[in-house]
């Protein structure tokens, strides 16, 4: 064999070895998740929950093979599911099926509620072809079948899946009750938000004021004005006395936008009841300094308003799991909350306003034209004020030492006057989770609303003792905005430095280095 032939053979053999190595790389691969929040790694709490599964759980991932090769996110979803199966010690079985591969699998996916859509791709100048796209989960356990119709991101995948597995282990889906006491509340939007955000882990059930709250309700949230009759309050109070957990998102003042004024809600029983539990909502509003503005967009222009503001990491509790991994929230016309815990109740502020915030009381002028001046006038008294507080312990009943409402006196109800240990969260604004925020603040409002809703959801999880789930959820809710520097002029200066240092100084240094090198060479040549 001549040398040329020999070299050709070696070349082909070398290429064959490379192909073999490449093929093996897809079979034997290792992955290292270097993200700080370990986005691609399932958490220890998820693994522990899976190992508690009494029976085998089957996850079928309906995934179009073409999606997997076209977008890395679908491969990552599959990888996370594989990790579930691997760390479950045989308790989770994973099957991946392509609905486009056979009519039988397509029917199986469709009949189980998996969302299948036609994805079109161009295959030539004038031609295109369509393929069946799907990325949905079917979770089967004993006789239960729960579909997650469409998954396109990994952010909430672990949370949803672990929440579902937890509900299986506890053999009970969490149920949350809610009472809305607010005019012009868009209930259909709110219900669809609840459904999309709470399912499949939590079911939400609406109650009318005065309706009896059964003990099967894991947590109750009340949104709106504090105008409740004693009889209506009795049901809420007794639910808490029986160990029920509650979230209150309540206005202590009535906002009259047209008149540019807010007036206190007079003689509100609910405000008195909350004060008795340990959280006093005074008839006042918080105004923030210009560092904390949440810009409002009216469709034409953005403007700032001291009564609409955001929160900062340094004013969030590091001890409570709800706020330990800070996520900013936005407030509109929020009242401050004073902590007045009775004996046996622990009160902690979860989120507070910044040290530059002021309290507006007595003359509650909310006119946007006057807000900046009003803030300036009050700024000497600026101080941080609690906006969301958590209470835990044994609460005294609102009806302790009071007469029971007339309607309850004759009904033979045995009132409980001291609660068994429970938890309550109080927010001094009904706008906190009001879907109207989306309309009020335009596109920005939509972002604000979802960050507030996420915070609210975490509160509900804390109330229903789902700390394991909070740990999974909060890791993704990092403050990813460019808001580390709170003073606008300082932030602007830092942004300017970053821009022009990198645009001008660094390239200039490179060029300067080149010129110096050139001159040195020239000098050496001459010598």
């Amino acid at each position: 064999m001549n040398k040329k032939k020999q070299t050709l053979i070696i070349t082909f053999m070398f290429i064959a070895v490379l192909i073999l190595v490449a093929m093996n790389s897809t079979i034997f691969s290792a992955r290292l998740d270097i993200t700080e929040t370990k986005v691609y790694t399932i958490q220890e709490s998820s693994k522990k929950i899976m190992r508690r599964l009494p029976d085998q759980l089957t996850i079928t991932y309906f995934l179009a093979e073409k999606l997997k090769t076209s977008n890395v996110i679908f491969r990552q979803i599959e990888d996370i599911l594989k990790e579930y199966a691997a760390s479950s010690e045989g308790k989770v079985k994973l099957t991946v099926l392509d609905p486009g591969s056979s009519a039988e699998i397509e029917n199986q996916a469709r009949s189980n509620g998996i969302y299948i859509w036609d994805a079109g791709e161009k295959s030539g100048k004038d031609s295109a072809y369509v393929f069946l796209a799907a990325s949905g989960l079917l979770i089967e356990y004993q006789d239960k079948k729960i579909p997650i119709a469409r998954i396109q991101s990994i952010e909430t995948l672990e949370y949803n899946l672990t929440a579902f597995i937890l509900s299986i282990i506890e053999n009970k889906k969490k149920t949350v009750g809610y009472i809305i006491n607010k005019p012009n509340w868009n209930n259909s939007t709110f219900q669809s938000v609840l459904q999309s955000e709470f399912e499949p882990a939590i079911t939400a059930e609406m109650f009318n004021p005065g309706e009896s709250i059964p003990d099967s309700i894991d947590a109750l949230f009340i949104v709106g004005t504090p105008d409740f009759t004693e009889s209506e309050l009795f049901e809420i109070d007794q639910y808490i006395m029986r160990g029920g957990k509650a979230f209150f998102s309540i206005d202590s003042v009535f906002i009259m936008q047209q008149q540019g004024q807010a007036i206190p809600h007079m003689d509100s029983n609910l405000v008195t009841m909350l004060e008795q539990y340990g959280a006093k909502i005074p008839p006042a509003l918080v105004m923030e300094g210009d560092d904390a503005f949440a810009p409002i967009h009216d469709g034409r222009q953005s403007y700032v308003y001291n009564y609409f503001f955001r929160t900062f990491a340094e004013y969030a509790s590091k001890e409570n799991p709800i706020t330990a991994n800070f996520a900013p929230v936005v407030f509109e016309w929020a009242s401050p909350i004073e902590l007045v815990p009775p004996v046996g109740v622990k009160a902690e502020p979860l989120t507070s306003s910044s040290a530059a915030s002021v309290r507006v009381q007595d003359q509650l002028d909310i006119n946007p034209q006057n807000s900046a001046n009003l803030y300036q006038t009050l700024s000497p008294s600026a101080a941080s004020q609690p906006l969301v507080v958590a209470l835990s312990g044994s609460f005294p009943s609102f009806f302790q030492g009071r007469e029971l409402p007339e309607s309850k006196k004759d009904s033979g109800v045995n009132a409980v006057y001291n609660s068994i240990p429970s938890r309550i969260i109080v927010v001094g604004s009904s706008n906190f989770i009001d879907p109207a925020t989306i309309d009020l603040m335009g596109l920005q409002g939509s972002n604000y609303y979802w960050s507030n809703f996420s915070y609210f959801k975490t509160c509900i999880e804390w109330l229903t003792n789902s700390e394991d789930l909070i740990a999974i959820k909060t890791r993704a809710s990092r403050d990813s905005s460019l808001s580390k520097i709170q003073k606008p002029e300082e932030a602007e200066a830092a942004a300017g430095f970053a821009t022009y240092f990198n645009l001008i100084i660094i390239p200039l240094l490179v060029v300067l280095f080149g010129i110096i090198k050139y001159m040195l060479r020239k000098k050496a040549k001459n010598e």
Binding site: K4, T7, T11, F14, I15, L18, V21, A22, S25, T26, S29, A30, R31, L32, D33, I34, T35, E36, T37, V39, Y40, E65, K66, K68, T69, S70, R75, Q76, S101, E121, K122, S123, G124, Y129, F131, R478, D479, S480, S481, L482, S483, K484, I485, A491, A494, A495, F497, A498, T499, N502, L503, I506, P507, V510, V511, F513, G514, K517, Y518, R521
Partner: protein
Amino acid sequence: MFERILTITKKELNGFYNSPVAYIITGLFLVFMSVWLFFIQRFIDRNAADLLIFFSVIPFVFMFVIPALTMRSWAEEKKMRTDEILLTLPFREVELVIGKFIAPFILLTAMLVLTLPIPLALSALGDFEWGQIIGQYIGVVFFGAACISLGLFISALSTNQIISFILSTVSLFFIIIVTDFIQQAIPVPAIAGFVGWFSFRTHYETLSNGLIDTQDLLFYIIMSVFFLYLNTRTLIFKKWS
């Protein structure tokens, strides 16, 4: 062997740093990256501590930067007729190729290091996911290495720098962008998956999300080795001819 590789690398690096080309390419690269981030993409107005928009454009920038770095490597030698002298020197072909590969790789790494002030300066404004940024830099370095070896191979096939630049740009365009379209157009998943495996961009995406996958690293290593190997074979065949 290493000494001989080092000699070639030094010679190549001197070639870069003694001509204005390296400074012009580096300067333009840095200016473009800043203009792209701060003015075209309006990073500050986006208000998000995430550099994905910065790193996602790098493959496209490399389509022009890397051919500019590699075009003169062999083509210049051929033009000046120094390739024949080089091949008669006591160097093995593999040493010549590796030495010529390391020089633009060092230059590219230096260019990337000079972009580090961007995340460092921006970190004053927001909480960046540093794991992701490290992954993005690792991805860019491996991606760049594979592109350089392809550029060098094309330079070895050409006699003219301009032709080498154009062919390298077209090849990188094909392997970075066109493979994605071809993959999308193939209705058979197994074949589409096979074609997709060759896409430089798909492997880069995983790394730039902060997930270090041996599959992706190995892909770039295999591609680098493959083109460097073809480069040595080209030299050997040239010797015979």
